[in-house]
């Protein structure tokens, strides 16, 4: 039995104009009936195998995408849906746009289009599923090497240490507050650079043209 028979997807909107989002959701409707291939839209990174990203990445969504990616259990693949997710599209030059999805997480399949067509999307996911099989084999090797024991729970995305103001916090319980301060201090005391989330080398799919700047993939804050 192949694990490619039930790819569960997760959809996240980086900062798209919502055109691609509508198409992604349209793909999940009974009209296209992707459940034929076992595809389910999960809405939960911990259950998902395929991460569908739409829109270019901006400063605020970058940590979120990174976190979603980290939470997905291996093997996992990322599909950039639409031209903005591939390399930034028409928003590429905007002051707040970092670029395509591959600026923050390694992307496996690029599906261009403005907006992306459901048919192209389905084909993209099918391609991604092939990569999933390969990654499963790699995972078994790396499990032996002990790579998967990285403790991601220690990665905190404190935006900046300065903008935390306890006076305007809503805390339900006082003891929680006290503990929280302890935690803050401990985190500061033992601040470590965050480990890399995943192996960098991701095979590229032939569906789409590779994005211009692929060297920074897998980079982490």
């Amino acid at each position: 039995m192949k694990i490619s028979k039930s790819p569960w997807v997760l959809h996240y909107d980086g900062s798209s104009c919502n055109g691609c989002d509508i198409e992604v959701l349209a793909t999940m409707t009974p009209l296209y009936d992707v459940e034929r291939f076992g595809i389910i839209n999960t809405g939960n990174p911990k259950h998902a195998d395929v991460l569908l990203l739409t829109g270019g990445v901006n400063a605020q969504t970058a940590p979120v995408i990174r976190q979603l990616y980290n939470m997905m259990p291996d093997p996992k693949v990322v599909v950039a849906c639409g031209i903005c997710a591939c390399d930034g599209g028409i928003f590429k030059e905007c002051y707040n746009i970092l670029g395509g999805a591959d600026k923050v997480v390694p992307v496996d399949v690029y599906v261009p289009g403005c907006a992306v067509r459901p048919e192209a999307l389905i084909e993209g996911v099918v391609k991604a599923v092939g990569i999933l099989e390969e990654k499963k084999k790699k995972l078994k090797e790396s499990m032996k090497a002990g790579y998967c024991t990285v403790d991601y729970s220690k990665i905190a995305i404190h935006m900046t240490a300065d903008d935390y103001d306890p006076t305007n916090q809503y805390d339900a319980v006082l003891t929680e507050e006290a503990l929280r301060q302890q935690a803050e201090e401990k985190i500061k005391a033992t601040a470590k650079p965050a480990p890399k989330p995943a192996p960098a080398a991701a095979p590229k799919a032939p569906v789409a043209a590779p994005a211009a700047d692929n060297t920074k993939k897998g980079e982490n804050a």
């Binding site: 990174p45 995408i65 976190q67 729970s153 995305i157 809503y170 805390d171 319980v173 929680e176 929280r180």
Partner: protein, 625 residues
């Protein structure tokens, strides 16, 4: 009597070492007596004291003293109604004794299996609570500097209380039982009022008048038996069998028992008892005070079978079980949840005793045993947690398993003991269901099944709060003194042992009680194959943690944060909002106050139960005189 005098002597020394020594001596004595009784084939031993004159005078003096004490305190705090009730209860009994109307020449003491089982409960659980108290009171006064330190007086009271318990259990003479009954009422009143704050005084007087009202009922029953039936012993009444005459005092005693075991409509005194320091609530709730009520009911239950009194007692008990378990959902104060759960469990015991069937009594005795141990453990743990965290709110126990692992683990065992499948309470609930079905009481079955649903809800959500693992949080300092652990650890061990030992307990402790109560051999209540299945379940519960350690399940797993829609700030308790700020995130438990809140449900249930009690008294007592 020797035990009591011994107790009173030990009550005067105050240092904790002496308490421990004295406590263990008493415990050893209690265990010795109980084991002796259980092992000797001849179960019921009646004793007639030849020189009963002195104890009788002593008891009479004691009653007068109690009355005067109540009067004095009532005047001091300007609660005059308590005087009235006290006078109404005591003076007729005194008059009866002095005027020679009381029946003489019957036995005074009775020590049988049931008494032995109660000895074990009071001796072990009660003394452990006293030992706990010696350490606890020090911490308590450390935190509550505004309260005058009278802990010596408090500890002395606890021992007097236990003494009265022993006395009550061993007495067969109704007059003596009445005396000890009143001692416990007054002692609990004094303990609740310990802090002398306004709230404490009010609550203590509430406890006083409710219990004294029960005492009046008891006194009335006592006079009726003495003057009309020419009986002065409890065993004579239970042996007499159900008849129209005998049912009147039985109803009156049952009424007194309802007040003592805090059934609706008399539950509010037990809730008010929360203001007292934890050891006294543990003592009142688990091992002693409330158990007197059910003790009386279980003693009386063979007589109540099939009578209107029995039916009414069962309905009141069932109703209390259901209503209190709904109310327990809505409160978040740890001690209050425990209080409601006590009321609810006592309701179940009352209902079981009221059916008067063999299974019912079996279930009732089992429930008494398991409840005493689990509940005292829970109270003590909550007290310790309060000392460590300065809060006993369930919401503050979030992540307790990380903050105070040792106490959390003990607490988990205690809570599991209260409701989870293979643990003791459920065995008894199972028997209770069987007995209800057999006695054909539809309402009771419905009360029980709906009550079990809500019981499950409030315990499981508490358990969940404790089990929540919060990342990047640290252990708090566990300041539980050793003397408290001396008490807590044996209780925890006992719960675990009792899980395995319940078939043995059933055979050696409960079955003899049944054969005493129902006279004749009793077939085994719990069947062979069921015991095996339950044993498998118990074994599995303890095997799963060990087994998963050995199999090292989850060693290959990767740690992540919990899912907070992608903006987890890193410690699972904060998220980053749309302005980039970190915000605290906290999931509170459900309390459903709009639906089952105290404001909505407490008074209606009290009124319903009050009507039921009134109907019982009027129809049974009024109809038969």
């Amino acid at each position: 009597m020797a035990i009591i005098i011994g107790l009173l002597k030990y009550a005067s020394p105050f240092r904790s070492a002496v308490i421990m020594l004295g406590g263990f001596t008493i415990m050893a004595a209690a265990i010795y007596v109980a084991v002796n009784v259980l092992m000797s084939g001849d179960t019921s031993q009646f004793m007639y004291l030849e020189d009963a004159e002195i104890p009788n005078h002593f008891i009479m003096a004691g009653e007068v003293f109690l009355m005067c004490l109540v009067c004095f305190l009532s005047i001091k705090y300007k609660k005059y109604y308590a005087i009235l009730i006290s006078l109404v209860g005591t003076i007729p009994v005194l008059w009866m004794d002095l005027s020679g109307n009381a029946v003489e020449g019957s036995t005074h003491l009775r020590i049988d299996t049931f008494a032995a089982v109660m000895y074990l409960i009071v001796g072990i659980v009660g003394i452990l609570i006293c030992i706990y108290a010696s350490g606890y009171m020090k911490d308590y006064h450390h935190h509550h500097t505004d309260v005058v330190d009278r802990s010596n007086y408090f500890l002395a009271l606890m021992f007097v209380f236990l003494g009265a318990m022993f006395g009550l259990i061993s007495s067969d003479n109704l007059g003596w039982i009445y005396f000890f009954w009143e001692i416990t009422s007054v002692c609990s009143f004094l303990m609740i009022g310990y802090t002398r704050t306004e709230e404490a005084v009010n609550n203590s007087f509430r406890a006083l008048w409710m219990n004294l009202l029960g005492g009046v009922g008891f006194a009335a029953g006592l006079m009726y038996t003495n003057m009309y039936l020419n009986m002065s012993n409890l065993s004579e009444i239970t042996a007499a069998g159900a008849s129209e005459v005998i049912i009147i005092p039985v109803t009156l005693f049952a009424f007194a028992a309802l007040t003592k075991s805090a059934q609706f409509p008399f539950s509010r005194w037990l809730l008010g008892a929360m203001v007292a320091p934890t050891p006294s609530s543990a003592l009142l709730h688990s091992a002693t005070m409330v158990k007197i009520g059910v003790y009386m009911l279980i003693r009386l239950s063979p007589v109540m079978q099939g009578t209107l009194t029995g039916v009414m007692i069962t309905v009141i008990g069932g109703f209390t079980f259901f209503a209190a378990s709904l109310l327990a959902i809505t409160v978040s104060d740890g001690k209050k949840v425990l209080a409601y759960s006590t009321i609810s469990n006592l309701g179940l015991i009352t209902a079981c005793a009221g059916t008067g069937t063999q299974e019912g009594v079996w279930a009732a005795v089992m429930l008494v045993l398991f409840h005493a141990v689990s509940k005292s453990l829970l109270f003590q743990t909550v007290g310790d947690i309060e000392n460590c965290m300065h809060s006993r709110d369930i919401e503050d126990m979030h992540g307790l398993i990380i903050k105070l692992p040792r106490l959390a683990f003990i607490m988990i065992i205690g809570i599991c003991g209260m409701f989870m499948a293979p643990f003791g309470m459920l065995v008894s609930k199972w028997a209770a269901l069987k007995s209800f079905v057999e006695s054909g009481s539809v309402w009771l079955v419905l009360f029980l099944v709906f009550g079990s649903g809500s019981t499950l809800f409030y315990w499981a959500k508490w358990l969940g709060k404790i089990c929540a693992v919060i990342h990047q949080s640290f252990e708090l300092e566990d300041i539980t003194p050793r003397s408290e652990m001396v008490s807590i650890i044996p209780l925890t061990t006992m719960i675990v042992i009792m899980c395995f030992a319940f078939p043995w307990m059933s055979g050696n402790m409960v079955q003899p009680i049944l054969s005493e109560a129902f006279e004749g051999t009793i077939e085994n209540v719990i069947g062979g194959s069921d015991v095996i299945i339950m044993m498998i379940m118990v074994a599995m519960v303890f095997m799963i943690p060990i087994g998963s350690r050995i199999l090292s399940i989850g060693k290959n797993s990767k740690m992540t944060m919990s899912y907070v829609a992608g903006v987890n700030a890193g410690d699972d308790r904060h998220y980053i909002d749309s302005f980039g700020k970190e915000r605290a995130l906290y999931m509170s438990n459900w309390y459903m106050e709009d639906y089952f809140g105290e404001k909505k449900l407490l008074w209606p249930s009290i009124i319903v139960a009050a009507v039921l009690v009134a109907v019982m008294l009027i129809v049974v007592v009024g109809g038969n005189i």
